[in-house]
């Protein structure tokens, strides 16, 4: 792909990313939403994040890997512990990345 085509693709990516971000907050904020929908929306944050976290940790080399040969799963354990204890993003990142780096250094994975 040429340089100009790359830039046009990036603008296209931006447009399709921004539309779903804007539309609900723009159109729904002034509406009175049904109580059940509000209740449902309350559980969106934890669900989105659970849906992002599980594949990123449990899918290794394109398949489900729940064994100790999955370094992402091993690194996730101390990360989760730190995350629940400190609720600190940066500390979790440092511990997780360091854990993975050390695992790779010392284990044949």
């Amino acid at each position: 792909m040429g340089n100009q085509a790359v830039l046009i693709t990036i603008v296209g990516m931006a447009v399709v990313t921004i539309i779903p971000r804007i539309l609900p907050v723009w159109l729904l904020a002034r509406r009175r939403l049904p109580r059940l929908l509000l209740l449902w929306l309350k559980y969106v944050p934890v669900s989105v994040l659970a849906a992002l976290v599980t594949p990123s940790v449990l899918i290794y080399k394109d398949r489900l890997d729940l064994t100790p040969t999955n370094p992402f799963l091993l690194a996730a354990l101390p990360s989760l512990l730190v995350a629940l204890r400190t609720r600190n993003l940066f500390a979790t990142l440092l511990v997780g990345m360091a854990a993975l780096a050390l695992l790779r250094h010392f284990l044949p994975i």
């Binding site: 693709t9 989105v48 599980t54 594949p55 993003l89």
Partner: protein, 214 residues
């Protein structure tokens, strides 16, 4: 909010190694500002995928923002349209998680919200630039564990959303659904569908719990 520095760094290194121009790498972080989609896009660009494929995949990966934006909407009824759109432009997994926690405790404060958004976006752009510059020097991202930046960020953000049993069960159902769709060959639909399953589970648990107590 500084979590976006290492995550952005990882993106910058990937973009540099994939042969992106500095302008293109930077522009993506400024305009798109979406971790998982940018990692995927870099891989697709280097695999020679078409413009339509890359844009469509980006749309599918980022469609989850629709639900996140809807979840923030009820707290923003007092805000002007311009303010709400400005907030939504910089809504990512991370800023969304921070805002939804803040809004559940106190009314939405524009100053605080835009402070979070601008800091997170600056960290993402700064991390991207540093990663891009360092990409020529680093042999492999994996040695320093930078490929764990995004999973670690998701873990931290997930931990912040765990408040009581209903959220844990909702998260469990969402997680299982996401894994099931991933292994079943539908990874692009996984987050959206799993969110619907998780949130619906949460509603059922809460309704059931209220019935028990009344």
């Amino acid at each position: 909010m500084l979590g976006y520095i290492p995550a952005g760094f990882a993106y910058g290194v990937l973009a540099g190694k994939a042969g992106f121009s500095g302008i293109a790498a930077l522009l993506m972080s400024v305009l798109v500002f979406a971790g998982a989609a940018q990692y995927a896009a870099v891989a697709m660009f280097s695999a020679g995928q078409s413009m339509a494929t890359i844009v469509l995949t980006t749309f599918i990966i980022n469609i989850r923002h629709l639900l996140m934006s809807a979840a923030l909407a009820p707290a923003l009824s007092k805000w002007s349209s311009i303010q709400r759109i400005a907030l939504a432009l910089q809504m990512t997994d991370e800023t969304f998680a921070i805002h939804s926690t803040a809004f559940s405790a106190a009314p939405a404060q524009p100053g605080q919200v835009f402070g979070v958004n601008i800091t997170a976006h600056t960290a993402w752009i700064g991390g991207s630039v540093l990663g891009f510059v360092a990409s020529g020097l680093l042999p492999d991202l994996r040695v320093l564990g930078f490929d764990f930046a995004l999973p670690a960020m998701f873990i931290a953000l997930f931990a912040c959303q765990v408040k009581g049993k209903a959220t844990i069960v909702a998260g469990l159902y969402a997680g299982i659904t996401a894994i099931w769709l991933h292994t079943g060959g539908h990874p692009t639909m996984a987050v959206m569908a799993a969110t619907v399953v998780g949130a619906t589970t949460g509603v059922f648990i809460e309704l059931w719990a209220t019935k028990q107590s009344s």
